[in-house]
Amino acid sequence: MKLRKLFTADSVELNLQSETKDEVLKELIQLLGLDDKSEAILFKTLKRRENLGSTGIGKGIAIPHCRSLVVNELRLAYGRKPEGIDFQAIDEEPVHNLFLIVAPPLEVSNQYLPVLGKIAQFAKDPDIPAKLQEIDEAAEFLDLLEERAP
């Protein structure tokens, strides 16, 4: 499956406003357009995953992810914080690029883990962070995915 197909312009935010890890998780969750109760549960589940070890994988990238009852299909969002945010990343550096991945407990097509791996590969590509910083609108993000994660 193409990563491009899993994002929409609505699920991309190039100027995240949050200043803390909790706030930024909530801001990313909001990009999925769920109801308030679902947002609250998803936040708790993502926090629990973070407690097992930060999903800030270094080089300014974080990939918060989990399975949750509150979605009925694989959902992704991308947020950028140009100034960086403290996400307790493994290299202790600020995080600029955040990819949120939420999968339902059961999926017919089992896309979650392959997509998680693919996003990690994409984000770790040495020249991707610089390219992400240059983007001005959501469509360019989608084009970059199309080009670099075919």
Partner: protein
């Protein structure tokens, strides 16, 4: 984040707890399989799957203690039979047994304020809007 009656406070606290338990148990189960999340979590996120499972199991026990006795009894009854104690209801269909459930149950606006279960399979249900 709109109407006051749609905040998380309005959700039945035991349903919230069951859903948290469900999500934790899903994570635990997924980390058990060699072809599951463990290799991905190890490779990309430097997680120690065994340690993570131990932490999750501890949290699950802690949350189970907070279930009301009646809810706990039902939970313990369902747990060994099914992977999931809480199942989503999507478009009126219970995803525990794939049977349509009464629309009266599903259409109620305050559906999350009560702890409901599927009339067919007995799983606790969560209506996904």
């Amino acid at each position: 984040m709109t109407a006051p009656d749609s905040t998380s406070d309005a959700m039945h606290p035991q349903l919230m707890l069951l859903m948290e338990l469900q999500d934790l148990r899903s994570q635990h189960r997924e980390l058990e399989k060699d072809d599951g999340a463990a290799p991905v979590e190890k490779e990309h996120f430097h997680m120690d799957p065994a340690e993570a499972r131990a932490q999750l199991a501890e949290k699950v026990s802690e949350l189970e203690e907070r279930l009301d006795p009646q809810v706990r009894a039902r939970y313990e009854l369902i747990k060994p039979q099914r992977d999931r104690v809480v199942v989503p209801v999507i478009n009126g269909v219970c995803y525990g047994c794939f049977v349509s459930i009464a629309t009266a149950t599903v259409g109620d606006q305050d559906v999350h304020q009560e702890l409901q279960s599927c009339e067919n399979c007995g799983s606790f249900i969560y209506v996904v809007s």
